[in-house]
């Protein structure tokens, strides 16, 4: 986290956590508002206290810095996110690992899932452009973000906004904008509103280049329907800007926004009173995102509520941060598909399902990710620990490899048992030499796979 001065936060609009803010709480904050702790981070953050710790994330000083070695592919070449398959995923994953503006990256990921757009409809270039747009607006103003998204080229292609024209409506964006982005299914609009909203959104188009594909996205007056529309009871000659304004000023929007945002950060249900307080603050700020994020990150339920499964890409970045590594292989792109989360390829327009990240198949994918993070398992010659290393020391060494994040006694004892089994199973003399490597490699494999390490 940056050491520079941070602006003090204003008065939170809702309840603030008053319990102990130690390393345990700091670790949860780092997993949920960033991409997991680097070694030493929890201690440093805990010393700041809750408010300054949150401010260091929500109000980072200066431009983002990327800490550590630049990413490269397996041959040592720089990444080419625009032209090489999978490099786009690795390019952003690298920012998740190395950026000192951790919450900005985390919020960019939130918007990527909220306004889920897939590169399958456009190109890596347009997706990376969209990614920068979302990063610039990560903690900014939701109304502005919605305007930007509505006419973003990747989104225009993804939900057919570029072929929605006067007399030839295409409802794809007009519907999802209300259902998934601003109001929620069935919350204060009907089918006719979808039709009329789609008319308001007409006019955007693009040209096609033989070499570059879709280019030159623009508003064409000829294609816009200038007629009168009635949206949510409001009658006028509405256009795309009006469409966005009518959506965010709809009475269902603040509760949709606050609930959805809360769900990305907190495992407990949003209490009705907190909801009202956050909605009021959101509306009175003119749809600013940062004050609501700050209030959520300081809320008692953030620290006292149940754990959350860490999303695959967050957990993967966390593996690299904890073990002080950066991107040295583009295998991360296909490993990501096994874990169930490839950046720039959400499963559909509703984004990833944050309620269900694991099943047998994606669990196996996560183990593949650990295998990849342990790219050089310990061999005889490289074994750094002495011949007298006992079972408990072996466990501590493996824990240190992953940044020293402690596990519950249940998991610790379980892994100590595995260590003992491996050491007892080796009876031949030559096996005695190698069992310590096997034990250390096995413990390193299992620590990030424990339910403790995979949740925060």
């Amino acid at each position: 986290m940056p050491d520079g001065e941070v602006t003090p936060l204003g008065q939170s609009p809702t309840a603030v956590y008053r319990g102990r803010f130690g390393e345990e709480q700091a670790t949860r904050l780092l997993w949920r508002a960033g991409f997991g702790p680097r070694p030493g981070d929890p201690e440093r953050l805990a010393k700041l206290g809750l408010e300054a710790a949150v401010a260091s994330l929500t109000r980072p000083a200066g431009p983002a810095r990327l800490i550590g070695k630049a990413p490269h592919d397996d041959k040592g070449n720089p990444l080419d996110p625009i032209n090489v398959w999978g490099d786009d995923h690795c390019w952003w994953l690298d920012r998740l690992v190395r950026s000192d503006h951790q919450l900005i990256e985390r919020m960019t990921l939130v918007w990527h899932s909220w306004f889920a757009t897939s590169e399958s409809a456009s190109s890596a270039k347009l997706m990376v452009d969209q990614n920068w747009m979302m990063r610039r607006n990560a903690l900014g103003n939701f109304h502005q973000l919605l305007l930007n998204v509505t006419v973003d080229p990747a989104m225009l292609l993804w939900l057919n906004g570029n072929t929605n024209a006067k007399g030839y409506p295409n409802e794809n964006y007009g519907r999802e904008m209300l259902e998934l982005f601003t109001l929620g299914q069935g919350r204060g609009y009907d089918e006719e509103d979808v039709v009329q909203n789609s008319r308001a959104l007409t006019g955007w188009t693009n040209n096609w280049s033989q070499t570059k594909g879709p280019v030159d996205f623009h508003f064409d007056q000829q294609l816009h329907d200038y007629g009168i529309k009635k949206i949510f009871g409001h009658v006028g000659r509405w256009n795309w800007r009006d469409s966005a304004r009518l959506a965010v000023t709809h009475e269902s929007h603040p509760s949709f926004f606050v609930n959805k945002l809360w769900g990305y950060f907190v495992g407990a249900e949003l209490p009705a009173r907190t909801a009202r307080e956050l909605e009021r603050a959101y509306v009175s700020s003119g749809y600013e995102i940062r004050p609501i994020v700050e209030a959520i990150l300081m809320h008692p339920l953030f620290y006292e509520g149940p754990r959350l499964v860490t999303p695959p890409v967050v957990w993967t970045a966390g593996l690299l941060r904890a073990s002080r590594q950066t991107i040295t292989t583009t295998s991360w792109a296909w490993v990501a598909s096994l874990t169930g989360q490839v950046l720039f390829q959400p499963p559909n327009v509703s984004g990833w399902d944050y309620a269900q990240w694991l099943d047998t198949s994606r669990w196996a994918g996560r183990l593949e990710a650990v295998n990849t993070a342990i790219n050089r398992p310990l061999q005889g010659k490289t074994y750094p620990y002495g011949i007298h290393e006992n079972n408990t020391e072996a466990y501590e060494h493996a824990l240190d490899f992953w940044g020293g994040i402690p596990l519950s006694d249940l998991a610790r004892n379980h892994l100590l048992n595995l260590g003992r089994r491996i050491s007892h199973g080796q009876t031949q003399k030559w096996e005695q030499v190698e069992f310590r490597q096997l034990r250390q490699n096995a413990l390193r494999n299992l620590i990030p796979m424990t339910p403790d390490w995979m949740t925060a």
């Binding site: 409506p169 089918e191 694991l358 669990w363 342990i374």
Partner: protein, 489 residues
């Protein structure tokens, strides 16, 4: 691997080669793995506890799998096998019914699948997308309709009496949101708050606590249809595509490490914290899946190419030709499923989703034609595979989509979300033909969509009662108020 099968005879012991080999094979048999072909010799005595049938089965090309349940009973010392899968395999009769659900995601355009080709109203609504008269097979029950030419293999299957078509299926007050409508079909009720799939609720009552294969997703991840409240279900990609390994760990230590991960999951699978529970259950069920699929993942099939350049049936020991497709593994998934059913894996409900997304808002033919062709050809091959293996009486495939599409095409050579759609039931025992009727284009609803005449909840209730012989009222909310249809011949 470290089961010792390939180890040289340790110094100080004197064995002949034959004994070493038979010991090796016994060890392999006990572990539930198939013997490697070069080790097997039909003249060798059959290990105690292995029936003659099993032995013949072993020699067959598709062998191995049954070891887990048959010969592998010697391996019932394994707690999970003993408590779970093997028990389920014993309880599940060889003729127990299996229901396979194939979700054609995105909202399939049923007006192209079964087209009123030549109808002037149809051609007016679909100036660019209309199916031309005469290009596809005529629909047997309604001569005004034509199958899309991409669906010819389905049409042939229908003419053979093995496809039951619902040309106007859905529910009242159709929701045109993908997510809501799909959810309704998945949970088996027009209820947004249900969190278990309709198949999952069936498995909670009719399934057991130790057999995740009773509900198998072939999507590479959990399929919501199978979401249970208590009993485990499994998700795999293809049977030979589930492998787990630990980097830098080998021999027995590798197995112990993976067992340790799963047994930690066993300990925490009822944790009070839902997030811990989610991870723990996945880890626990990985242990079961790993042991059960061992013959596939470690067997000779593993080296075979199932990515699309070879007939996937050959990979799984079948004799039927599936369509070749690079990039879309639907044929391989279905071929793998046929081999799993043949091997006696205790399946009840299987769910899979097409890779192709049929949400054709633009350039519809590009997606629809190739997508429907692949699905139709794959389903026809699957049916033929089941017949060739003699297990077709046990299987019904339900094909569905979350809604149909707007009768009038849009300006992008595509179609927007609609209401009534088409659903299919496929199998040797279905009541081939049509239920309901094609919803007239002259009587569209207020949104310009085709009207529903069969409620999917009634079809689910009928499936539960007729196929699973189970009370629908316990599974489908308000089951009594839905019509029942005669689904079986």
């Amino acid at each position: 691997m470290s089961d010792g099968a390939d180890s040289p005879v340790p110094a100080g012991q004197i064995h002949c080669d034959g004994f070493a080999r038979s010991q090796a094979i016994r060890r392999v048999l006990a572990s539930g793995k198939p013997p490697v072909a070069r080790e097997w010799d039909s003249r060798m005595p059959i290990p105690a506890g292995v029936s003659l049938d099993r032995r013949r089965f072993l020699i067959a090309a598709a062998g191995g799998i049954a070891l887990v349940y048959g010969a592998g009973r010697a391996g019932l010392t394994d707690p999970m096998l003993g408590d779970g899968i093997a028990q389920a395999a014993t309880l599940q009769k060889a003729d127990s019914p299996i229901l396979v659900s194939l979700f054609m995601q995105g909202g399939l355009d049923s007006l192209s699948l079964l087209a009123p080709a030549g109808d002037p109203l149809y051609e007016k609504l679909r100036p660019t997308l209309a199916v031309a008269p005469g290009v596809g097979v005529a629909f047997r029950e309604d001569p005004s309709l034509t199958w899309h030419p991409s669906a010819t293999s389905l049409a042939n299957l229908h003419n053979a009496g093995k496809v039951l078509v619902f040309p106007g299926i859905g529910y009242s007050n159709e929701d045109m949101s993908h997510f809501t409508s799909r959810h309704y079909w998945e949970v088996g009720a027009t209820d947004a708050s249900l969190t278990t799939g309709w198949m999952g609720r069936y498995l909670d009552i009719a399934g057991v606590a130790g057999n995740p294969f009773q509900g198998l997703s072939l999507d590479g991840q959990m399929n919501p249809l199978l979401a249970t409240a208590k009993n485990p279900v499994a998700a795999i990609d293809q049977p030979n595509n589930f492998s787990v390994w630990v980097n830098g760990v080998w021999g027995d230590a590798s197995d112990w490490t993976l067992e340790s991960a799963s047994s930690l999951g066993d300990k925490q699978r009822n944790s009070h914290d839902p997030a811990i529970r989610q991870v723990a259950r996945a880890a626990s069920e990985v242990g079961v899946v790993r042991r059960t699929l061992n013959p596939w993942t470690n067997g000779p099939q593993n080296s075979a190419d199932s990515s699309g350049s070879k007939n996937p049936a050959a990979v799984y020991g079948g004799s039927v030709t599936y369509p070749l497709s690079s990039g879309d593994d639907l044929p391989a998934r279905l071929a793998g499923l046929a081999s799993m059913i043949a091997a006696g894996i205790p399946l009840k409900c299987v769910a899979l989703t097409t890779d192709v997304q049929f949400d054709t808002h633009s350039s519809q033919p590009q997606t629809f034609d190739t997508g429907v062709q692949l699905v139709s050809d794959s389903l026809a091959a699957f049916q033929a595979d089941l017949e060739a293996r003699g297990i077709d009486q046990r299987v019904i495939v339900h094909v569905w989509s979350e809604f149909g599409r707007r009768a009038e095409e849009n300006s992008s050579d595509g179609t927007d979300h609609g209401a009534a759609g088409t659903s299919l039931l496929i199998g040797s025992r279905v009541n081939g033909g049509m239920i309901g009727e094609f919803p007239a284009l002259s009587a569209l609803d207020v949104n310009g969509n085709q009207r529903v005449n069969v409620d999917f909840q009634g079809v689910y209730a009928s499936l539960l009662e007729q196929w699973f012989n189970h009370d629908a009222a316990a599974i489908i909310p308000g089951a009594s108020k839905f019509h029942r249809y005669k689904l079986l011949a």
